[in-house]
């Protein structure tokens, strides 16, 4: 395989599970968040545990940033404590017999890195936990505990950060509390992150790269916007299929309380939620909220119109509907329309059409 570079992650493994066999071969980018997405029991956590060496897969190869951690063909298996990784577990995993400072120091002392103090300080600042250093774990809220756990993992200066559903054990309010910190991590970390989740919200908000697992196999993998808009074998995330667009807040209209997000291919107006002009944001546009017209729509309450080109079309689960993939600049949108509309409008791939977007959600 020529695609294996020195910088990214390569994970190949086989692991028998109770009802299926986990089997995958993944080449992941050296930066950004890769979300491992799938239903409970699809093998996501096992992948993470194998990368960490907590579980031992067969015929496996794990390479991180040019270092081979496991290669069964060559008889290499580094135990977990010799792998330069950070691991954040699903539930609070702080050492109860140590205070926050003690927890942070635990890994730092054992890495013996020359600039350990600086790395620790940076982790404390990144997660905003300077106020908590003297507290005991049982005096922290669930969100604070996870922030400390993330800082503790980062303080060891890892090559990769593995997060196993870090918010699954938190209630909604705590999730809202910790999400901005994860955004910040996403923006500032220069190491790859493998993030396991089955939450559509977290995926839409954090993923750069997406790996969809189904019963131990990779169903789809690639840049998140691509994977979400693949229509043969669509990946339903949350309640419906839809596109994810990255853009910048271009203007805010104070009279109508609207904001325009510009992206390559156009712009969309949505409710102004106070995001500053120039801020990078992500938009989620569901397939059911997109309709198609052959001429520029007029006299309609839907004000978001974009010119795009039909790329492909596939039948939906119900015979009355089709899913249309539309290219709009470098972005892709999905539209679910009726088969009858598709035929009566005489639509076909390659054709330039107008799309109307009824609803847009800001995910970040």
């Amino acid at each position: 395989m020529s695609a294996i570079t020195d910088h990214g992650l390569h994970i190949r493994l086989t692991l028998p599970r109770a009802s299926f066999e986990l089997q995958l071969d993944l080449q992941l980018p050296a930066q950004g968040v890769t979300v491992l997405f799938g239903a409970s029991g699809s093998g996501k956590t096992s992948v993470l545990r194998c990368v960490a060496g907590l579980e031992r897969a067969r015929a496996a190869r794990v390479q991180v940033g040019g270092e081979v951690w496991q290669d069964d063909a060559a008889g290499i298996f580094l135990p977990t404590h010799r792998r330069a990784l950070g691991y954040v577990f699903q539930e609070a995993s702080l050492f109860e017999h140590l205070d926050v400072q003690g927890n942070l120091q635990f890994g730092v002392r054992r890495t013996r890195a020359p600039q350990a103090a600086r790395t620790l300080q940076a982790a404390v600042e990144l997660l905003g936990i300077a106020e908590l250093l003297r507290r005991r774990p049982h005096e922290l809220s669930g969100g604070e505990r996870q922030r400390v756990a993330i800082a503790r993992a980062l303080a060891t200066d890892p090559q990769v950060l593995l997060l196993d559903e870090p918010m699954a054990a938190l209630d909604l309010a705590r999730r809202q509390e910790i999400l901005p910190w994860l955004d910040r991590l996403h923006g500032e970390l220069r190491i790859p992150m493998l993030y396991v989740t089955h939450s559509a919200d977290e995926l839409a908000r954090l993923a750069d790269h997406l790996v969809v697992l189904e019963r131990g196999r990779v169903k789809n993998a690639g840049p998140v916007a691509e994977v979400l808009t693949t229509i043969d074998g669509p990946v339903v995330v949350g309640d419906d299929a839809g596109a994810l667009l990255g853009g910048v807040v271009a203007e805010r209209d104070s009279r109508w309380h609207l904001a325009r997000v510009a992206f390559d291919g156009g712009g969309l107006w949505l409710r102004d939620s106070g995001t500053a002009v120039g801020q990078r944001v992500r938009l989620r546009v569901l397939a059911r909220d997109v309709s198609i017209a052959t001429a520029e729509p007029q006299h309609t309450s839907i004000q978001n119109h974009l010119q795009s080109r039909i790329e492909s079309v596939v039948p939906c689960a119900h015979p009355s509907q089709v899913m249309v993939r539309l290219r709009c600049g470098s972005c892709v949108l999905l539209a679910r329309i009726t088969q009858r509309a598709y035929v009566e409008l005489g639509l076909q791939p390659g054709q330039t059409v107008w799309v109307q977007v009824k609803s847009v959600a800001l995910v970040q």
Binding site: L54, H81, Y87, T111, H138
Partner: protein, 227 residues
Amino acid sequence: MPFSPEALQAVWLTLRLATLTTVLLLVLATPLAWWLARTPSRWRAPVSALVTLPLVLPPSVLGFYLLVAMGPHGPLGQLTQALGWGVLSFTFTGLLIGSVVYSLPFAVQPLQHAFEAIGARPMEVAATLRARPLDAFFSVALPLARPGLLTAAILSFAHTVGEFGVVLMIGGNIPGRTRVVSTQIYGHVEAMEYAQAHWLAGGMLLFSFVVLFALALLGRRSARVLP
């Protein structure tokens, strides 16, 4: 003077025996309990049953086998003689070995429960933070198991102080060498010295109560610390 010099000697011997037994037991029982708590081996069940045996066997049965084993013709006796240590029955060392065996379940069980309650997760966390397994054991598992460790120590000590049958079988009640408080009381009663027996028995009663009271307090505190 409520305590005769003989009685004081027995108290001193008892404390020495109980302390040494406790120290030895903690050293032996900790790895054993760890293994029992973590191993997937099929030897777990038989080893666990073996360790628990002293809990249900009459002390006389245990004492009898130990006596035979440590005697001049027993396997342990032959070994100690070959090593030039002589025969251990009716010596303080023999008594110590007997006490360790007799109190083994009282040290292993609290430790095993503590290790089981901790689970595998903290050790995994420690490994992801670069701690070697042995390092993780001493820096994470043992500190987290502290209430269990304390319970094991208290129970081992108290149980050794309270033993009678095994001591009588393998110690032989020799003043200054193998006569402990419990056998001293027995001697006083046999000699109709009820007043002296009262003082020692009352002391034992008080001691046992204080120990159990301390355990109860410990249980409450550890329940509060570990949610």
